[in-house]
Amino acid sequence: MAEQRKRRPRVCEYYQNEDQFAKGVALCSGCTLELNLRFVSRVLGKDIIFVGTPSCSAPVLHGQNTMAWHRHPYYACTMTGVASSATGLTRYYQKAGIEATVVCHTGDGCAMDVGFQTLSGAAERNEKIIYITYDNEGYMNTGIQQSSGTPFGAATSTTPLGRESRGKTTASKNMPMVMAMHDVPYVATATLSHLEDYAKKLVKAKAASKEGFAYIHVFCPCVPGWRIPTDASIQVCREAVRTNYFPLWEMERGVWRITQKVKEPKPVSELTRLVGKLRHLNDEELARLQAQVDHRFRVLQALCVASEGVPQSES
């Protein structure tokens, strides 16, 4: 057992280069988005081109006037134009014979709401890009409003608690599954408590992006938006996996696989008790959230079983 553990590559062995980001950046203490950016950059390598939008990541990725906080080429665009801008870049590089890895990096609001059409279009065209969604379940940069990534019951500034309101009334969009249904070469979920798992998926995504579209959906808790302590964000990630609230899986050429099996999943209340925006859920509401988590997981399991050993032919 000990030997087996030794053979498994440690996360730092996936690093291609030094951290390309400046040491002090304008993000909150405990921000998982910052970790995510630095991690993606170190695993995917220096030569990637980031495409991003106005968002929490913008102050760091965009730069101001001639100042920058990282050493990557970067393309900023509107929230409606991420996957399409990445398409323009990658298509020109293909035409000109330039080797490049174009990486879109957006929040859930852009990917799942206002930029969804262009993301879906690029996936359908099987554009050679990597699209990474850092899902903090809402519009955190503009002041914690609900997005279609916000879960049932969550209190946000546009689904506040009140005499007549108990938070968001509908479930979140099951975005990674939606993307997997686009029949692209690679789709995965990842989070920052499981970095080896995440690193492997980034490496696979980079390889897949030479053939077509790769999508990674990253669970990224937001300290002020979720009302969690600054030192709890990684713990929240871990509990999301352990409760099956955010199962870690991948879909490679039509074959689904759960990459982190949870032997005895904890009840979802183990997660919600840590998270301020969900702490008000009563038993009935928790049961509803639990039922949704269970149902999504059963569907995922069924897909894993149904697709096992039957990869889709090359598209």
Binding site: Q64, M67, T80
Partner: protein
């Protein structure tokens, strides 16, 4: 196959002319979404691509907003890019058009004029191009199929010129020109190569490339923003002379030219002048000839460059006239007149106070007939003679 790329004279539609021109300029990336009355442009380009005549990345996007973002990014990466749209499509890419202009991305776009949303009209009208006038794009308006082809080629020279680096729209009237078949002189691709070759000899544009840490679209904070706006404005002003310069070179190779920013027709001794743009110019030319036969000293000014507005040449052309009329194929909310009329009126300090008449005609495929234009000239003449006149007239 090769025969298609030799010089030839063919009867083609306005849309066909736009597609031929784009193909001859060898774009690296084309992204466009179909919309009436532009669809033929994208279909024709897809066919050129399918037949191996057009070596480019042809992106079948899922909407116009994406089309604009694709071509903007492709030019920022270093490529040449083309798109085409109309009406609903133009306003659907509105946010992205600000990006393209702000990034100084030299995209060339064809806009086939059609009434925009509101009152659903699958009809010609210039309201679409008017609605994007403050996005920072250069805008040209053309009159016939040959001019469509020639102007799209010139638009690449203009957009990618080192002193300009701005996106350019070539506008032409939907239906009246998009589906009008005319005899068009299609240049050989080698001639177009020769015309565009000068672009390769200029200092290189910045390119977004892997391994080179360039940020595109960083936050413009305070003076950083102001500086870029000021430079954008200065580049826009340079378009006026640059257009005439590159049109001169175009004339040397292809033997055709259109007067640059504006074309004056029989204005030398004219007492009164009608200003208009687009397909209505051809009709107006015939009416001006007829009125001249009757002894009316009338001239015509065709507005080719809409953004930047050719205020110097236009005010010089209108100064000292006894009355001027402006024919618009669109309206200007809040000013109760036509938009081109409003802009001509803003030239008053330069051209002096004179009777000005606004004519709104041709909305939603209502024909701008010879009779209409003859009536307009009669009204302008009456105003010139000191008779009372109505400032704004809707036709028919």
């Amino acid at each position: 196959m090769a025969a298609v790329l030799d010089r030839q004279r063919k009867v083609i539609t306005g849309n066909g002319a736009a597609a031929y021109a784009a193909m001859l300029c060898r774009p690296d990336v084309i992204a466009a979404y179909p919309i009436t009355p532009q669809s033929e442009v994208v279909e024709q380009l897809a066919k050129f691509h399918a037949d191996g005549l057009l070596d480019c990345e042809y992106v079948t996007v899922e909407g116009e907003n994406s089309a604009q973002n694709v071509v903007c990014a492709a030019t920022m990466a270093g490529g040449r890019a083309f798109t085409a749209t109309s009406s609903y499509g133009l306003v659907y890419m509105y946010d992205a058009m600000f990006n393209t202009a702000g990034y100084r991305a030299p995209v060339v776009m064809v806009n086939v004029n059609r009434e925009p949303p509101g009152i659903h009209a699958v009809c010609s009208g210039q309201q679409d191009m008017i609605s994007v006038r403050d996005t920072g794009w250069v805008q040209l308006v053309v009159e016939n199929c040959q001019e469509i082809l020639d102007t799209v080629i010139m638009a690449f020279r203009l957009a990618e010129d080192f002193d300009i680096q701005l996106p350019v729209i070539v506008n032409y009237d939907g239906y009246y020109l998009s589906f009008l078949a005319e005899s068009v002189d299609i240049p050989a691709i080698a001639e177009v190569d020769r015309y565009l070759e000068v672009l390769k000899r200029q200092p290189p544009r910045p390119q977004l490339l892997p391994g080179q840490p360039i940020g595109c679209g960083s936050h413009g904070i305070g003076m950083g923003y102001v500086e870029l706006r000021k430079k954008h404005m200065a580049a826009m002003e340079r378009v006026k002379t640059k257009l005439e310069e590159i049109e001169g070179e175009f004339a040397e190779i292809f033997g055709r030219s259109y007067g640059g920013q504006i074309e004056e027709y029989r204005t030398e001794d004219a007492d009164i002048v009608l200003v208009t743009s687009g397909s209505a110019v051809g009709t107006a030319r015939a009416v001006v000839d007829a009125k001249r036969e009757e002894g009316v000293k009338v001239g015509l000014v065709k507005l080719r460059l809409f953004r930047p507005f050719p205020k110097e040449r236009l005010s010089a052309a209108l100064r000292g006239r006894k009355a001027v009329g402006v024919l618009d194929r669109s309206i200007c909310f809040g000013w109760d007149c036509g938009p081109l009329y409003m802009e001509v009126r803003a030239l008053t300090p330069e051209m002096g106070i004179l009777p000005l008449l606004s004519f709104i005609d041709g909305l939603a495929n209502m024909d701008i007939t010879k009779e209409h234009i003859a009536g307009m000239i009669d009204e302008i003449k009456a105003a010139a003679e000191g008779r009372p006149y109505q400032e704004v007239t809707w036709l028919p």
